[in-house]
Amino acid sequence: MYYKAAEEMGIKEKLGILTDAAKYDVACTSSGVDRRGDGKGMGNTELGGICHSFSSDGRCISLLKILFTNECIYDCKYCINRKSNDVPRASFTPDEVCELTMGFYKRNYIEGLFLSSGILYNPDFTMELICQTIYKLRREHGFQGYIHVKAIPGADPMLIQKAGFFADRMSVNLELPTADGLRQLAPNKHRKNILAPMRQIQNGIEANKNELVLYKKAPYFVPAGQSTQMIIGATPENDYQLMMVAENLYQKFGLKRVFYSAFVNVNEDKELPALPGGPPLLREHRLYQADWLLRYYGFQAQELLSEERPNFNVLLDPKADWALRHLEVFPVEVNRAEYQLLLRIPGIGVKSAQRIVRARKNGALRFEDLKKIGVVLKRALYFITCGGRMMYRTKIEEDYITRNLLSVKEKLPFDKDGMTYRQMSLFDDMSFRMPPEREDCAKAAFGQL
C-alpha cells in the first residue's frame, strides 16, 4: 500500500492544513522528563517543560503540533476532519516532518514534536507511518528533544510498543467521557479499543521501570508518561461523572494527565448541542481546578461533588466551595497544622504550604510572614489563626464568608466577554477582570506546563 503525499503541494500549504486540523488537541505540554543532551545530537528536555510562544487564544505553543495526515476513514460527528466533511486534505512525508522539526527546534521555536494523525486506510498503516517518522527523527537526525505521539486505537500492539521506545509521552484520546456518548458521536470508535492501548502503555511503563532497576542502560519506554483528553459539553455528562472518570484514569491507568477540552462546535451536526454562548470555558476551567486538587492537594472526587450536587459552583472555585461546606475544620492554626491540612486552606497553594512548613522551623509565623511567603491573606484570613489569633474579628459562618470571598474577585483566565458570563447579568457588579498569574494560567487553566 502506498499513499500520495501530494507532492505538488508546497510545505507551507501542508503545514497550514495540518496545523489547522491539529489545533483542537489540547495537550501541548513538554513536561515530565528531564534529560541532558549526550553531546552527539541535538536537544534535551526539562522536567517542567518550556512554552515557546502563545497563540492569540492565549494557549501555549510548546510543540510543533501537527497531524501527519488529515485524511480519515472515520466519521466522528464532532471532528473537523471527519470523512464526510469537504475540507482540503494533505499528508506529510516522514522526511518533511523531520526537516520541519529540526529547523524549528534549532531556532528555539519549539520544544519538540507532537504528532497525531487522521486514520489513513487503517490504524496499522497510520501507526506505522508515525513510527517511521519518529524513528527517523531519533536515529537519523539525532533528535533528543521532546516527542509526544498518539497511539492509534486498533493498531497492532507491536507498533505501539515500538513507538513507545522513541516517544517521551504517548496519549490515547478518550474523546468522550462515557461509552454512551462515544457510541452516539463517534460510531466508528469503541471504548474497548481506546482502553486497550492505554492499558498496554501503562503495563509497558511499569515493566520498563523494573527493567531500569536491573539494567541502568535499558531503553526508556514513554518516560514522560501517558495522557488523554476528553471533550466536555458535547454530551450530557455532569461534572461529577467527569471527575469520577478522571479519578479512575489516574488511579487505575496511572495516567500523568487528563485534559479537558471545551467543545467547539465546528460541524453544526444535528446530534451536537448548539452553544450560542461559545465553548464552555468556565466549566473547563473549573474542571482543571478540580483536577489539580486531585493530583496535588490530596482531594478525592467524591469530596468535591456528589450525586446530589453533581456540578461545580459557578461562582466559587472548587477548593473554596469545599472549605465553605466544611467550616467545622476551620480555623486552622498555621503554626501547627499538618501539611495536608494546610493544602486545604483557600489562599494557600502547594508552594506556600511547603514554604510554611519550612519557615516555621525557625520560629512562629505571624500574618506578615505569611504574606511574604505568598499566602493570599484576602482569601485565607477566614480560615486560619496565627499563634491562636485570627487576623481580624470575623464570623465563621457560611453566608458571611461566601459574601466576602466573592467580593475578592476570582482570577479567571478569560474576561467578561469570555462568553460564558453573558447569562450572569445578575452579577454584573462583579468584575472578572483580574489578570491571572502566569502560573495559575499555565497550570490551572490549561495545565500546560
Binding site: 491539529a22 541535538m42 492565549g58 529547523g103 514554604r355 519557615a359 510572614d369 478569560f414
Partner: protein, 256 residues
C-alpha cells in the same frame, strides 16, 4: 557611633570580597553596610571604604557559603547578584551573617521571616523567572556562515544561566547570544566549551546576512502560530499576560 560603608564593584567577586572585608573589620554587623557601585548620598558619621575585588578573598567567601549554607543558597545568591538592584549587596551580606549564626545554615532559604533572606529570595526568583522567559522566547537566526545568532534584552544578567542550557541543547552547532543591554556575548563554538566576551561598541550591522532558508523558516513559524489558534477562544489579554510585550520585539513570529 560611626557606620562603615563598603563600596564594592558590581560583580560576584566584588561583593564577595566586600563580605570578606566586612568580617575582617571585626565589629558588629549591624553597623557595617555593603553598597554596590558608586556612593550616591554621602551620610554624616559614616566611613566609606572602596573595596578592590580580590579573587582569593572572594573564593574563600564562596567556599564558606557553599559549605555552611549549602549549594541551594549559593545558587540563589548568584541569581540575586545578577539582578540590577541597589540593595542586593547588603541583602546578601546580611543573609550570610544570619545563615552563619543559625544552628543549621542549610535551612537559611526557608527562613523567609528574615527580611534579608526574603529580599535575596525575591531577587533570586526574579532572575530565575527572567532566565526561564528567555529560554522560552529567545530566537536564533541562522546566518550565511552557519552560525546561529540571537539578540536578547534581559532585565538582569542572565547569560551565565542561559548559555549552559543552550550549550547542552545544541552541542554540535556554533551559536552566539548577544545581550544588547550589557554588551556581552555568550559564544559557543561547536563541540567546545562556551565563553563570555564583552564588546561595548558592537554594531549589529556588522553581523553576516541571513542564510538562504532563514526567512522561509521565520515565515513558516509565524504561519504555524497563526494557524494553531482557535478563533472561538480568542483571548489576546491572556496571550499578553503569558508573554509580556517586551519580549515580542525579539521574537520572529511577531515580525517587525
Amino acid at each position: 557611633m560611626e557606620e562603615n560603608y563598603l563600596i564594592c564593584e558590581d560583580s560576584l567577586e566584588g561583593i564577595f570580597t566586600g563580605i570578606y572585608e566586612a568580617y575582617a573589620l571585626r565589629r558588629e554587623h549591624e553597623r557595617i553596610h555593603i553598597q554596590v557601585g558608586e556612593e550616591e548620598n554621602l551620610r554624616l558619621f559614616a566611613a566609606y571604604m572602596e573595596i578592590q575585588p580580590d579573587q582569593g578573598k572572594a573564593a574563600k567567601v564562596a567556599e564558606t557559603i557553599n559549605r555552611r549554607l549549602g549549594g541551594e543558597a549559593y545558587l540563589d545568591i548568584c541569581r540575586a547578584l545578577a539582578c540590577e538592584d541597589g540593595q542586593k549587596g547588603e541583602a546578601v551580606y546580611k543573609m550570610v551573617v544570619c545563615g552563619l549564626r543559625m544552628k543549621d545554615g542549610r535551612e537559611i532559604m526557608g527562613n523567609l521571616a528574615n527580611s534579608y533572606v526574603h529580599k535575596v529570595f525575591e531577587l533570586a526568583r526574579f532572575t530565575r523567572n527572567e532566565v526561564h522567559h528567555w529560554k522560552e522566547f529567545l530566537r536564533f537566526q541562522e546566518l550565511e556562515n552557519g552560525i546561529l545568532f540571537s539578540r536578547i534584552g534581559p532585565k538582569c544578567n542572565v547569560l551565565t544561566f542561559l548559555a549552559p542550557h543552550f550549550a547542552d541543547r545544541l552541542p554540535l552547532l556554533d551559536f552566539i547570544i548577544y545581550d544588547e543591554k550589557r554588551g556581552i556575548f555568550a559564544v559557543h563554538p561547536k563541540s567546545k566549551e562556551w565563553y563570555l566576551v564583552t564588546a561595548r561598541d558592537f554594531e549589529e550591522e556588522k553581523i553576516a546576512p541571513y542564510s538562504e532558508g532563514e526567512l522561509e523558516y521565520q515565515e513558516l513559524f509565524a504561519f504555524f502560530c497563526h494557524k494553531i489558534a482557535i478563533k472561538e477562544r480568542k483571548n489576546l489579554k491572556l496571550q499578553r499576560n503569558m508573554m509580556p510585550l517586551r519580549f515580542q520585539e525579539y521574537m520572529v513570529e511577531f515580525g517587525q
